[in-house]
């Protein structure tokens, strides 16, 4: 029973790690994306740089994903 509870809590933790980082990345990308579109509207040559900035907040989700994988397979 205790083992089952622990497994359940690990699953909840893994879910929270991916879910909350996804939420954080979404909020960050909202602003970065709006700014990127603004920059491209003024100067289309900025597309490449804007794209890189757009992708940066997604690293937050990868951190969350790593934590959740560690939680499920290592713990």
């Amino acid at each position: 029973m205790a083992e089952g509870e622990a497994l359940g809590l690990i699953a909840v933790g893994a879910g929270l790690a991916v879910g909350l980082t996804g939420l954080g990345a979404g909020i960050a990308e909202g602003n970065v994306g709006a700014a990127a579109v603004g920059a491209i509207t003024e100067d289309a040559s900025l597309f490449g740089k804007a794209m890189i900035f757009m992708v940066l907040p997604e690293t937050i989700v990868i951190f969350g994903l790593v934590i959740s994988i560690l939680a499920i397979f290592v713990m």
Partner: protein, 352 residues
């Protein structure tokens, strides 16, 4: 008029666009080069600096100094309209309220045009459609015959109620100046009302506008002193709502007969130490130099606030202040060169 929505503004998008536009503004070295050019060379130079479309559009209609003047105003109007179009929510409300001064400018041009019997195309050439009132409404205002009709129509379009005493004074004297004075006061009152000081950036914006009112009042007092006007006569142009210059202090400044006599009282103002005093201490004090220096203070205030909160209305207002200054500077250079002024004199008139 402006309180249609209380949605949060799209700051990231609008501020990025504004910052990109700001990076293309002319710098001090550009003015140094332009001062040494002729008017056609200035036209070509500004064409390459972002005024190409307007210069090409208007080249068939105007030439020389008139082309530079009309193209720069048209460009400013287009830029401001694009900012207004891009902004949303509370940001759009504040930008629209700030740009209402151009609606009032246009109404003044129309009123003056009607008073002096200028034809419709002549009036239209001098308009700067940078505000909330669209060009179709401006065309309708121009097409009306009398000043009364224009005021009636504008009160609907601009949601302004002209007080009965202002209208009756205008009818008695035939002087549209009373309406213009009312509009200036009305604009600042509505602008102050449109800013909700619930966040730090909007508080700073409100303070900036109150400082701008101080600057406008101080410039009016200085200019009138230059014309030999002082005392009670000055007070009818006083705009309430300033930060440091209340009506009592304005009265004190207005009562001084010359700029030098007002110097002691002006030392209480924030603008005095770094902007007015150096001009007053210089060998050749002119009212124009004092007024230019006060304008520089206003621009520096905008610059200072722009970096405080990147995702707010502040960088947008800072850009609009700088764009307006750029247009004014280009016109000063072009007129100065055309009028044969010395390079030093032209440079002294610029706000950089």
């Amino acid at each position: 008029m402006f309180k249609r929505s209380v949605r949060k503004g799209n700051y990231a998008y609008t501020v990025t666009r504004v910052k990109a536009k700001k990076s293309h503004l002319l710098k001090e070295e550009d003015y140094d080069k332009m001062i040494q050019m002729s008017v056609p060379e200035i036209s070509r130079y500004i064409s390459e600096a972002g005024y190409q479309k307007e210069m090409t559009d208007l080249a068939g209609k105007f030439s020389g100094i008139a082309l530079v003047e009309h193209a720069t105003y048209q460009n400013m109007a287009n830029v401001f309209k694009s900012i207004l179009g891009a902004s949303q929510g509370e940001l759009a409300i504040m930008v629209a309220a700030y740009l209402e001064k151009w609606d009032i400018w246009n109404l003044k041009v129309i009123l003056r045009g009607k008073s002096y019997g200028v034809d419709a195309s002549g009036i239209k050439e001098d308009l700067v459609p940078a505000g909330k009132v669209d060009e179709a409404s401006l065309d309708k205002l121009i097409s009306l015959d009398s000043v009364d009709d224009v005021l009636n129509e504008y009160s609907k379009v601009g949601k302004v109620t002209f007080p009965a005493d202002v209208i009756s004074e205008y009818k008695e004297t035939g002087n549209a100046g009373v309406i213009e004075d009312f509009l200036d006061k009305f604009h600042y009152q509505r602008l102050l009302d449109s800013i909700s000081p619930y966040t730090q950036p909007t508080k700073i914006f409100l303070d900036y506008i109150r400082k701008e009112i101080d600057v406008v009042n101080l410039r009016t007092i200085m200019k009138l002193k230059g014309e030999g006007i002082y005392g009670e006569q000055v007070m009818k142009y006083y705009i309430p709502g300033g930060m440091q210059i209340d009506s009592k202090f304005a009265q004190v400044l207005a009562n001084a007969e010359t700029v030098a006599a007002a110097s002691g009282d002006m030392s209480r103002l924030e603008v005095y130490e770094d902007y007015i005093k150096p001009v007053m201490d210089s060998d050749n004090v002119t009212n124009k130099a004092v007024v230019t220096s006060i304008k520089k203070y206003q621009e520096d205030q905008a610059k200072k606030m722009a970096h405080m909160y990147p995702l707010s209305v502040l960088p947008v207002i800072d850009f609009m202040v700088h764009k307006e200054t750029e247009v004014r500077n280009i016109r000063i250079v072009a007129r100065g060169v055309d009028g044969g002024l010395s390079r030093e004199t032209i440079k002294g008139l610029l706000v950089i």
